[in-house]
């Protein structure tokens, strides 16, 4: 039984591109924090990549702050850690910024001299990365908790959000490395693995939605799927593969990283702003108004069309 007119799914307007920016900045930023911490033992320069990561996360949260209706009450967001993933995300942002900030300062030897030798940069960076991963998970759960929007509450979206965040982080590390120093050798293979994971998660997510989500949401995701797979997965994987086989220049890997980040952002923007259809309204039974109540069990009635 179908319901149309008033009951049709409609595009939600409560979360717009500003909310999408939180998922874009938060996912890519925490992914980059993770990649930066992982690259630190190999002698990678922590400062620029971690600074960019923190800036991205801060940008995302700032955009949410601009979206909320009562920005000067923003601290109330901390009141409900028992069940709210938004509260948990906000709570995690405090140690995330603190740990990453101290790690950056320590890496640059900007902490007071007596403490310099005692501040374990790698340990702090790892802790910041772990908190960042939890922050990313909270973001994925925020979408899943949005029960009014089928494309968001689908559990398979969590894997997409996490795989995208990790892939974006590795991609951005490759971009940053272009301007500082070559990345550790494991980054390119790890980025390919993350891309494969994202591609699989994306296709699985779309397949899951096709069976039950509003057609408009499925269509919105379908529209970006081919370009996403080509530009977001195939092209960067090819560039990274070529760089592994013949490491001539850092430019191809940086281009690949940029493509991974840009398409990841596009994916999240689409999911939030284009696929965010409500489920609409349907009724399982039709009222027996104006007819013998016994007839209602025979819905739909057998109506013979004229001429047949």
């Amino acid at each position: 039984m179908t319901a149309i007119l008033d009951g049709a799914p409609r595009l939600q307007r409560n979360w717009d591109s500003r909310a999408a920016c939180n998922f874009i900045g938060g996912g890519a930023g925490t992914g980059l924090l993770l990649a930066s911490a992982a690259a630190l033992p190999a002698g990678s320069n922590y400062f620029p990549s971690a600074l960019l990561a923190v800036a991205l996360i801060g940008f995302g949260l700032s955009m949410v702050w601009l979206e909320i209706g009562r920005p000067f009450r923003a601290l109330n967001v901390f009141f409900h850690p028992q069940t709210s993933w938004m509260t948990r995300e906000a709570l995690l942002s405090v140690p995330l910024f603190a740990l990453a900030g101290i790690a950056i300062l320590a890496d640059q030897r900007l902490v007071p001299l007596p403490f310099q030798a005692r501040v374990p940069v790698a340990g702090l960076a790892s802790a910041a990365a772990a908190v960042g991963l939890a922050f990313m998970f909270c973001q994925a759960r925020m979408l899943r908790a949005s029960r009014g929007v089928p494309a968001w509450r689908e559990p398979a979206l969590q894997a997409v959000i996490i795989a995208t965040g990790i892939a974006e982080g590795l991609g951005l590390l490759l971009v940053v490395s272009l301007f500082v120093a070559p990345p550790p050798a494991w980054v390119a293979p790890a980025a390919i693995a993350a891309l494969v994971a994202r591609a699989i998660a994306w296709e699985y997510y779309r397949q899951r939605l096709q069976t039950w989500a509003p057609a408009a949401a499925v269509a919105a995701l379908h529209r970006i799927s081919l370009p996403l797979q080509l530009v977001g997965h195939l092209l960067p994987a090819a560039l990274l593969g070529a760089a592994i086989i013949a490491p001539v220049s850092q430019l191809p890997t940086a281009v690949a990283g940029l493509a991974v980040f840009a398409t990841g952002a596009w994916l999240k923007l689409t999911v939030v702003t284009r696929a965010g259809f409500t489920q609409g309204f349907t009724i399982p039974f039709v009222p027996s108004r104006g007819r013998n109540p016994a007839e209602t069990t025979r819905w739909p009635p057998q109506i013979t069309q004229p001429g047949r």
Binding site: M1, T2, A3, I4, L5, D6, G7, R10, Q12, N14, W15, V64, E67, I68, G69, R70, P71, R73, A74, N76, V77, F78, F79, H80, T83, S84, W85, M86, T87, A90, M142, A145, S146, R147, G148, V149, W152, G276, T278, Q279, F281, I283, P284, F285, V286, P287, S288, R289, P293, T296, W299, P300, P301, I303, Q305
Partner: protein, 217 residues
């Protein structure tokens, strides 16, 4: 225990939208905000098509997803089952709006008037800045219920303790009362009729029932 619920008899609803108008008058909601909506559904496929009017709004679920996601605890469930929003806590993040499977929540960013840029006398009198930039929704006219109960009246029986939409429904399609009271009108209606709830598969245990046929048993 008390749990207030609403019952809509789909056989009686004629889609006149009087409940919507009553709600807007009682709660002074701005243009575009309908805490009590009446959906005009076309059901079935040609030629077996029927038109059905379905009153809807906040379902005052006993396991409301809006309460779970609210980061501020502004959305909370009262002991009598009414889901309320504390406007002074709400930050307007709209997490509740996207969590609600019933599209029952609204957020208005600035004052809007029904006729252009100037408020009518009523709008000017009843404008409330507390509801700007925060989530709003049907309250089951909780203030009316509370005032009525304080006077010893019974919600659903006495108009002074009953939501405006129920009071003004011209076809008697809407009923209100305590489902935990076996003698209440809503309990009797649910006993005597077949009924369903919207999106029951979501597991929110909504407090809004739809009657669609007599129950011969």
């Amino acid at each position: 225990m008390t749990r207030y619920v609403m019952v809509a008899d789909l056989r009686r609803c004629i889609g006149c939208q009087t409940c919507t108008a009553a709600c807007k008058q009682a709660n002074a909601t701005p243009p575009g905000v309908q805490w009590r909506r009446v959906l005009d559904l076309e059901v079935g496929e040609y030629p077996a098509v029927r038109r059905v009017f379905v009153p809807t709004g906040c379902q005052h679920c006993s396991d409301p997803p809006c309460e779970w996601v609210c980061p501020t605890t502004a959305t909370r469930r009262r002991p009598d089952g009414i889901v309320q929003i504390l406007y002074n806590l709400c930050i307007g993040c709209a997490a509740c709006a996207v969590a609600c499977p019933y599209e029952a929540r609204y957020k208005v960013e600035k004052r809007e008037y029904a006729f252009g840029h100037e408020p009518t006398a009523d709008e000017a009198l009843r404008a409330d800045d507390a509801v700007i930039g925060v989530a709003t929704k049907c309250t089951f006219c909780a203030d009316t219920i509370d005032a009525g109960v304080a006077r010893g009246l019974t919600p659903g029986e006495h108009p002074e303790a009953t939501p405006a939409c129920v009071n003004l429904c011209i076809s008697g399609a809407l009923a209100f009362g305590d489902i935990d009271d076996s003698e209440s009108r809503v309990s009797k209606l649910l006993r005597e009729n077949k009924h369903f709830r919207m999106h029951e598969e979501q597991g929110t245990n909504p407090g809004f029932y739809y009657l669609w046929d007599r129950d011969p048993s």
